[in-house]
């Protein structure tokens, strides 16, 4: 009986270890298969040229990925710049100021927002944000804009990542011990002083982690961005130019290019690129987070 229990315990343990290894293997397998599919184009062209050239003429054999890479970054960064203040202030309000009833109403709504399918955000963006930019905002800055722009992509993406940011930040704020905020309040600090000097300060690493997660999500978001950002392979010179992020490139063209081996390989290369960007970005941010935590062990 005792032996049976020990055997069971071991079996369960190794079974779960296997499952865990499988999950990690999946990441490696995906990375490797993308790499091998992208290998032909990397052999055919100079890697540096692929990354820095802005010429995208697949039928002539010119594959420059710079416009797509830049578009991905531009759209994501605009999204995060818009989303961060919104979500930080909202989560501070919900955490420190709002009454229980307000919180009880808001939190499920935030969760609901993050559950809405991207295509709906895309449609909404096309119907409201795009015309708004074309008719109201862009004319103040440039002569002509269709509205399908970097800005539209950024705004729609911001709306999509705000719920994600809010729910992570609420979690981060909630992890602050009540004794700590009480200590500040008991000394006669106002709520706002406590928020500024204790809550935010204590949450720096958590906010950075949330930002990284949201950015990774933004890099990869396909459908909603694809619907509003114009999809023209050019380097956008202002936020009122159309752009063409990597995920949109893959989604729009995969399936059409089967007749051209180099084109297929080029698309696989862009997928591999996106994969590397997200992995590198995550690794880098984990590293910086560790550094921050080590330096300010609070």
């Amino acid at each position: 009986m005792r032996r049976l229990r020990a055997v069971k315990d071991k079996t369960v343990r190794y079974f779960m270890l296997g499952i865990a290894i499988f999950t990690i293997l999946l990441l490696i397998v995906i990375g490797l298969s993308l790499f091998f599919k992208a290998l032909p184009i990397m052999k055919e062209k100079n890697l540096w040229v692929l990354l820095t050239s802005a010429d995208w003429k697949p039928f002539k054999g010119d594959f420059g990925f710079l416009p797509f890479i830049l578009s991905t970054f531009y759209v994501s960064f605009i999204a995060i710049i818009i989303a961060l203040p919104f979500s930080i202030l909202t989560s501070i309000y919900l955490n420190s100021y709002a009454s229980k009833n307000v919180r009880r109403f808001f939190e499920p709504v935030v969760d609901l927002l993050s559950g809405i399918p991207p295509v709906i955000y895309g449609v909404w963006g096309t119907l409201t944000i795009v015309p708004l930019i074309a008719d109201k905002i862009a004319p103040g800055f440039v002569e002509f804009s269709t509205g399908y722009t970097v800005l539209a992509g950024g705004v729609v993406l911001a709306v999509m990542i705000i719920p994600l940011l809010i729910s992570i930040m609420l979690e981060v704020f909630r992890s602050i011990p009540k004794e700590m905020t009480d200590a500040s309040l008991a000394m006669g600090a106002t709520k706002w002083q406590t928020v500024k000097k204790v809550i935010l300060r204590r949450s720096v690493s958590g906010i950075i982690a949330a930002t990284v997660l949201a950015l990774s999500r933004a890099f990869g978001e396909t459908m909603a961005v694809l619907m509003v950002c114009g999809n023209i392979a050019q380097i956008p010179h202002s936020i009122f130019d159309a752009c063409y992020p990597l995920p949109a490139l893959i989604a729009n063209n995969y399936g059409e290019m089967l007749s051209m081996p180099s084109y297929e390989s080029a698309l696989m290369f862009s997928a591999f690129l996106l994969f590397i960007i997200v992995v590198l970005f995550n690794g880098l941010s984990r590293f910086t987070l560790n550094q921050i935590e080590r330096r300010y062990q609070f």
């Binding site: 700590m180 500040s184 000394m187 006669g188 106002t190």
Partner: protein, 280 residues
């Protein structure tokens, strides 16, 4: 502040009279200390504190004892209005601090809290350096000059006997201190807002005996200048340092009096039972 203004406005002689007046006035007020009238506290319709009437003598240590859940901590929180942060708490009655009802409509909660230095059960340094922890209070109350802040920080770190232990690392994180040092830091932080009262909520229950002893010695030293109110779990601690004891049970004050009298000659049956360890 007011005194110096008047000094500039009128002659030296006038200001001297004013000064004397102010001192006597202050003394008069100070002797009132804390007076509580008909205090009732409800938390989510539970009657936690029942009809508390009490005067806490100034410049001495008053220990509140009683079994867990009798309302000791709740009582302490009514003194610096920390219940304001929990909407489910309802309070009725009057708490006079320096002859002013702190639950009066015109009272600013920040002024009330500034008078009360709180020492919590577990030391809880703020997420900043040792120096900034002590500088926090003066800074939030508007002291900006670096020299003044530096002086205050050093003064109170010295007062709690921490300065020599941390002087070469005051800019490092406060969480790296030992837990006993952290509690002394929290005391210094509380003193730096220049309160009149010190509230301790089982302030030594998380500490080792040696750190406990240090904190207790500080309390005894502090009672020359401050009125100290401590919630404590250990009877021996109350016996060691208290001048007055308040014994609470189920939200009521059962007995209150000078320490010696309380321990040697308790008047109530319940007190005798508690002291003999029949319940805790």
């Amino acid at each position: 502040m007011i005194l110096t203004n008047q000094h500039q406005a009128s002659g030296i002689h006038d200001s001297f009279i004013e000064l004397n007046k102010a001192i006597t006035l202050k003394k008069l007020i100070a002797t009132q200390s804390i007076r509580i009238e008909n205090l009732d506290v409800y938390i989510e319709n539970q009657h936690i504190l029942r009809d508390i009437n009490l005067t806490i003598p100034e410049k001495s240590i008053t220990c509140i004892i009683g079994p867990s859940g009798c309302g000791k901590s709740t009582f302490l929180k009514t003194l610096n209005r920390m219940h304001d942060e929990s909407p489910e708490v309802k309070i009725s009655g009057k708490v006079f601090v320096d002859d002013e009802n702190i639950y009066g409509s015109h009272v600013n909660v920040i002024d009330t809290r500034k008078k009360m230095g709180l020492l919590a059960q577990r030391p809880c340094p703020l997420p900043m350096s040792i120096f900034e922890n002590v500088a926090y209070g003066p800074r939030i109350h508007g002291i900006k000059k670096r020299k003044a802040v530096n002086q205050t920080v050093i003064q109170y770190l010295q007062y709690v006997g921490l300065w020599d232990e941390v002087r070469d690392r005051v800019r490092t994180s406060a969480t790296r201190l030992s837990i006993g040092q952290q509690q002394r830091l929290c005391l210094a932080r509380g003193l730096a807002i220049e309160p009149e009262y010190i509230l301790g909520d089982e302030a030594t229950s998380a500490l080792d005996p040696l750190s406990t002893k240090k904190i207790e010695e500080l309390f005894v030293k502090l009672k020359e200048k401050y009125t100290i109110i401590l919630v404590t779990h250990t009877l021996r601690q109350a016996k060691r340092i208290a001048d007055h004891i308040i014994f609470m049970y189920l939200g009521k004050i059962i007995e209150a009096g000078p320490t010696e009298e309380f321990f040697n000659n308790p008047k109530k049956q319940l007190t005798r039972e508690y002291l003999s360890g029949s319940f805790s």
